[in-house]
């Protein structure tokens, strides 16, 4: 019998289907392995965080909230200690690095994906990736002996001429002595930027390369220039990749140890100027102090390590969310 209108509209209790998925064995094994691997990573993170918290606990209990504000480091003698200056320096060095690395990375990634002839794209890509494989110690040495003597003239010029800007301020009257600008946040930031560029570039390159061909052709067919295509198609598409790449670079920069350790002359009092001698970073602090610390000192260093760990975790988490968003934008192509 064909149901009439009334019949279909009469109240039939709707029973929703229970969605049950039956997985076969290979699928179950794969799921198991993948899940285990995922949880291992998480467990590892928790383990490291827990370890730092445990070892740093006594120092944190002693210093309390002032750990984040105190601008001195004398835990071994039972004195005050804190990262009130070291943390801002760490961030400053990283921001200097990003300020230099991000534009260069965007330009490099655009060149590789948009302008470079097809046959040199791959070699160029490997070359940039190769830069990431150079040990940071080498960057540090090169930065110290080759770059620094050249960079301090920049610092001096800025100090002499732009000293009224707090960021470039140099103490004492102009003209300043050149040595005043060595071992600064700026020099360390430039060297760190060299290490960040390959990382940022490869993230951005990958995203730019996925810019939908259909939209690029549409832009060209309207009489657009290459630059027009980049501005109206590639960059809007790659926005997530740019921000994500920069954040990943930031994560890398925050943790950079050896190059910064080689370059800076450690300082525990804050100064806003990035040009003048004296800087610091949590990683460099730990590397420098570790061998000469007693139990109190070690605990304080662990606490500093915990701060760095949490900061990088946060930055990387934000980065992956943003990069993920960028990717899902890529799927809008029909």
């Amino acid at each position: 019998m064909i149901p009439t209108q009334e019949q279909t509209e009469s109240v039939v209790p709707e029973e929703r289907i229970e969605i049950a998925v039956r997985r076969d064995v290979p699928d179950r094994i794969y799921r198991g392995v993948a899940t285990a691997a995922g949880f291992t990573t998480l467990a590892l993170m928790a383990l490291i965080g827990g370890f730092l918290l445990f070892r740093g606990a006594s120092a944190l209990r002693k210093a309390g909230f002032s750990f984040l504000t105190t601008e001195m480091w004398a835990p071994d003698q039972g004195g005050d200690f804190g990262i009130g200056a070291v943390l801002p320096y760490t961030i400053q060095i990283s921001l200097v690095a990003l300020f230099i690395a991000v534009p260069i990375s965007i330009a490099t990634a655009l060149f590789i994906t948009q302008y470079a002839p097809t046959r040199i794209r791959r070699p160029l890509t490997s070359l940039v990736d190769l830069l990431a494989a150079i040990p940071s110690l080498i960057y540090g040495l090169w930065g110290l002996f080759y770059l620094q003597p050249r960079l301090i003239t920049v610092g001096k010029w800025m100090g002499d001429n732009l000293g009224w800007i707090p960021l470039f301020k140099a103490s004492g009257p102009a003209p300043h002595s050149i040595g005043q600008f060595a071992a600064s946040t700026f020099v360390a930031g430039v060297v760190v930027s060299l290490m960040v560029i390959p990382l940022c570039t490869s993230v951005m390159r990958e995203v730019f390369a996925q810019a939908p061909m259909g939209e690029q052709e549409a832009a060209l067919a309207l009489g657009g220039t290459k630059w027009g295509v980049i501005r109206d198609v590639v960059l809007p598409f790659g926005r997530g990749g740019i921000i994500g790449g920069a954040m990943l670079g930031l994560g890398r920069a925050l943790g950079e140890t050896i190059a910064v350790t080689l370059i800076i002359s450690p300082m525990f009092v804050r100064q806003f100027s990035i040009m003048e001698q004296g800087s610091n970073s949590i990683a460099a602090l730990i590397a420098l102090k570790f061998s000469e610390s007693n139990a109190n000192g070690i605990s304080a260093l662990m606490a500093a390590g915990l701060a760095l760990f949490l900061l990088t975790l946060l930055v990387n988490a934000i980065a992956s969310v943003i990069v993920g968003k960028g990717r899902s934008g890529a799927q809008t192509e029909i």
């Binding site: 052709e217 549409a218 832009a219 067919a221 309207l222 290459k226 109206d232 934008g329 809008t332 029909i334």
Partner: protein, 291 residues
């Protein structure tokens, strides 16, 4: 971007000039060439070493719709893309022959590449509005891309007329600020047409513009095409025989025989192609016997 390699071949086109009208004999066809149209002479195309088109002669008359038909892979899209210099975007692609817009060679002439593309617009198979832009920004994007400076008043004017000509104005006039991707597929395609029209092209190339659309959207696009042909020259690739008959005045049948590059078998008035074609292969194709 690869540089185009315009290989020179000797023209086998016999040509008689009478005033500013010349007659081209192509595959036995006779067209009166008006100097204002788009014309292809002896065009051959390669992808790398593979030749996919050979000796194509076709005059696309001004303010008329010319349809390109033929089986898949015979080179219709390739030919269409030579007409606004999109072919050369493919790495390794090259071509020979000559393409003229209003009598000026678009490859060797003085007109810059971006100007060529602005004068000869293109609508693609898949609707491809810019996703980061609103409806209005999409329509006006060509002005920005091709560096045309217009004042605010003129912009509003261009926005409205372009959308009206594309038959989309009524549907979107209250939602110009919404993203272009919020429209239906058919509306997106008309948005793409409006976007092409905004830079005031003389010719509009369309590569199977309805193949991703439902029948009623297809109908709307066909109506749009016919209205547009009063003011603009249109070249349309289609696999739909009824569509070719409905919208076009002239029609060119492309065919690539086995291991051969594509050629034009026959080009004539659409009515003639579909009723009394000269070539047996054309007859077989339009009556649905192959392809």
């Amino acid at each position: 971007m690869s540089t185009i390699n315009t290989q020179s071949t000797t023209s086998n086109t016999s040509q008689t000039s009478s005033g500013d009208q010349s007659i081209i004999h192509s595959a036995g066809e006779v067209f009166i060439e008006s100097p204002r149209g788009l014309s292809a002479r002896n065009v051959s195309c390669w992808f790398g070493e593979k030749k996919v088109l050979e000796g194509v002669n076709l005059v696309m008359r001004p303010l008329e719709v010319t349809a390109l038909i033929g089986p898949s892979g015979c080179g219709k899209s390739t030919f269409l893309r030579t007409l606004n210099r999109m072919h050369e975007l493919v790495p390794g692609a090259s071509l020979a022959g000559e393409i003229q817009l209003n009598g000026d060679d678009i490859y060797r002439g003085a007109m810059p590449l971006t100007e060529v593309r602005r004068h000869i617009g293109m609508v693609f198979q898949k609707p491809n509005p810019f996703p980061a832009m609103t409806i209005a920004e999409n329509v006006l994007s060509g002005l920005r891309l091709s560096g045309l400076k217009v004042d605010r008043h003129e912009r509003d004017d261009i926005l409205e007329t372009s959308l009206k000509r594309a038959g989309l104005w009524k549907e979107v006039k209250d939602r110009l600020g919404e993203p272009g991707r919020a429209l239906s597929g058919g509306q997106q395609q008309r948005l793409c047409i409006a976007r092409s029209l905004a830079v005031k092209p003389q010719v509009l190339l369309m590569d199977e513009p309805c193949s991703a659309l439902d029948p009623s959207s297809t109908r709307r696009i066909e109506e749009t095409v016919q209205e547009l042909s009063d003011t603009i020259t249109i070249v349309i690739v289609t696999h739909n025989m009824q569509q070719a008959q409905r919208v076009s005045k002239f029609c060119a049948f492309f065919l690539a025989e086995e291991n051969q590059p594509g050629r034009i078998v026959e080009a004539d008035l659409t009515a003639k192609i579909f009723t009394t074609p000269r070539d047996e292969r054309t007859n077989a194709y339009v009556s649905g016997h192959f392809g």
